[in-house]
Symmetry: C2
Subunit: 415 residues, 2 copies
Amino acid sequence: MPETFDVGLLGHGTVGSAFAELLDARTEQIETTTGLRPRLSGVLTRSRGDFDEILAASDLIVEVMGGVDPAREYVLRALRAGKHVVTANKQLLSRHGEELWAAAREHGVQLRFEASVGGVVPVIRVLQETLAAAHIDRVTGIVNGTTNFILSEMARTGEAFSSALAEAQRLGYAEADPTDDVNGADAAAKMAILARLAFDTPVHLDQVSYEGIEQITPDDLEYAREFGLGLKLIGTAERIGHPTNEGRSGISVRVHPAFLYPGHPLASVAGPFNAVTIESPAITEITISGPGAGGPQTASAVLGDVISAMIPPASTPETSQRLPVVTDVASAFYLHLDVDDEPGVLAQVAAALGAHGVSVKSVVQKGLGDQARLVMVLHRVPERQFMAALDEIADLGFMRSRPRFIRVIEEEFGV
Amino acid sequence: MPETFDVGLLGHGTVGSAFAELLDARTEQIETTTGLRPRLSGVLTRSRGDFDEILAASDLIVEVMGGVDPAREYVLRALRAGKHVVTANKQLLSRHGEELWAAAREHGVQLRFEASVGGVVPVIRVLQETLAAAHIDRVTGIVNGTTNFILSEMARTGEAFSSALAEAQRLGYAEADPTDDVNGADAAAKMAILARLAFDTPVHLDQVSYEGIEQITPDDLEYAREFGLGLKLIGTAERIGHPTNEGRSGISVRVHPAFLYPGHPLASVAGPFNAVTIESPAITEITISGPGAGGPQTASAVLGDVISAMIPPASTPETSQRLPVVTDVASAFYLHLDVDDEPGVLAQVAAALGAHGVSVKSVVQKGLGDQARLVMVLHRVPERQFMAALDEIADLGFMRSRPRFIRVIEEEFGV
Ligand SMILES: NC(=O)c1ccc[n+]([C@@H]2O[C@H](COP(=O)([O-])OP(=O)(O)OC[C@H]3O[C@@H](n4cnc5c(N)ncnc54)[C@H](OP(=O)(O)O)[C@@H]3O)[C@@H](O)[C@H]2O)c1
Ligand SMILES: NC(=O)c1ccc[n+]([C@@H]2O[C@H](COP(=O)([O-])OP(=O)(O)OC[C@H]3O[C@@H](n4cnc5c(N)ncnc54)[C@H](OP(=O)(O)O)[C@@H]3O)[C@@H](O)[C@H]2O)c1
């Protein structure tokens, strides 16, 4: 029987229930990776569970209740009792982070909070570990998926803020009360946390200025297009020390709608996504993007933190699989043929493809004097079938050179 | 006197010399973060240093020599001597990874290798830590900056492969002997490492099929544009278990040029950049991008690994700075004015802006019957100056409603 690792769960809402499910589904895998068998030691909601009992029975506490009280007290008590804590609570950390981090240091336990910022975007880990001793100049982020979805919709359809918001609510990207999302307060809390880590200086939510997107009109987005700009709700945390600042040096942390030029690394982030760009002289910049929220996504970030607390880092575990490496995969193809310009060419090529189950998605044919160029994009097919069709086509009498092909990665990415 | 942490450096070329410089520049910061003072205990090149002496004097060995022999022997000997190792060597890991990871486990030391894949893109850490117990379906990457630069140049200018390669060499994005980059071998080694981590199964470089970009013609890129596609050298590591694979389940690891549709998360990655997308049911997808190589960038990834080996993870250190939070920052602005359509409006607005040092970048004016809409993009200026100009404009007689503005993030991002 392997040793168990007991996880107490505070909160069983969107994130908490998804976490409980994910932990259950991944128990075997986690045991293989860590050598410990994770187990839910108790669940606290408003109507069930007792905090003291759960604390006593746990090695680690997951706090996904939200809010400041009683979350703050529970997290402090857990840390003081020598238990690791994983939290998704940006409100708590942006207001009482220093107190909680100090308690974690004092009691020699881990306080992890990847899920508090950026959905599945692992920006906390990258700031704390990859860039632990980097000098960071600026962190720029789209850290609220609701507002990014609304702005993307407004740009795409030309509709007003209120109807894009209604659409976001219908699709589950905005809550019934969207106030904190659309007015920028949610993003401000996240930027306070990122600024604290990037600049190694205390930053409280109250020090972050923010504006939301309620005032944006379809008109703004139309003019923006004319200027070649895209509109996002942008959080910025940056060092300030220019002459324009009258020589004072410090940091600025703020959230406001902003137009971006097309070359900006965040310009292409559309829909309910989050993305964060970190700039540092040594690395130039890193950009990380992914879905902004959602129960399973947030639960996955929480679970990553739980597992990190279970194991010493950077041991590459023995492989537990022996998967065969397969070479006959399926692909879509771009096919390029130089042919004599004579009747029946396309028909014969199509017949050869069809005989091997390869179907055509689009074709461009160009006459070039007595020869022609036939370029097509083919639907996804096992490569072996495509190669057989290709051999047949290569032997056709009107071919003027060897057929050429390049694989096409199809649209249904991520589905 | 703080305790020291001795780092032995094998190799002092592009990466090694940049690492030595960076370690020196960041010594104080690392001491603050870790409580230990890092120190270079010795440097090995072909012409100086003695491996045994360096090993005896070090807590950790950084291997940035490259090649398989003698790098393999040195890394093994370091691990067996109970020293942590940080390496940037994809050739070594894609051929002898299992042997080295086993040695690290056996001797209870860390073997870290972030710099071996993806330049500054922290994909190793994300796979090993954030996604430690995630079920991963697919990893797709642009993991060679040289080829991505060449393809971007070919698409941009219409020039041939050979002249884009010459341009890459001139700019330092391709080496004098670019063979392993352009034929896909370098990307294949990186994909072998990513597949090993993603699927928890042994993957040797020999099992990765690869094709390069030498055969790509300007013509291909032109047709691609007609089909709305972009061309990249793509590495894919994915689980295969579909019916098209005759029911066999396994993985496929391959590198080849591929066309991407515009919505693909890697489609917008241009120039000498790397990017990796990881797909997993729980998270949908994460994409991480950044510069693909370069001495300082790679050295920064190596240093992140060294620091991780120095400290227990996820303690948020006490803040060492007390930076003031500044609110008067500079921004560029979009300004939207509804005005009476009468002569002299633009002149008066421009005068008010000019009086406060605000200069105009572009203007769009639209007549709407007896009123007009004046929309402008303004150059970067301290916000206080802009607000003063705005107050003045708001009081002008021809204003029909309150002026509206949105900040613009300027083009010179990352500069
Ligand atoms: N939802 C997301 O996509 C997302 C993304 C990132 C971060 N987060 C963060 O994750 C946390 C949880 O979010 P959520 O969406 O899962 O919230 P939720 O659906 O409202 O669930 C909250 C849970 O906490 C429990 N709870 C609240 N106050 C409590 C109290 N005083 N005593 C005991 N139990 C209490 C609730 O109990 P009852 O069931 O009895 O009401 C409920 O089970 C928040 O900090 C949020 O900011 C959420
Ligand atoms: N350059 C990049 O941007 C980059 C990016 C990612 C990863 N990497 C990886 O980082 C590693 C180093 O790359 P690099 O570009 O820095 O290489 P480099 O400039 O060629 O430098 C190699 C260094 O290792 C030394 N060396 C080589 N063989 C040796 C031996 N047998 N005994 C002792 N010293 C030896 C060389 O010594 P001498 O000076 O005496 O010749 C030189 O100092 C490689 O694994 C590479 O794949 C590089």
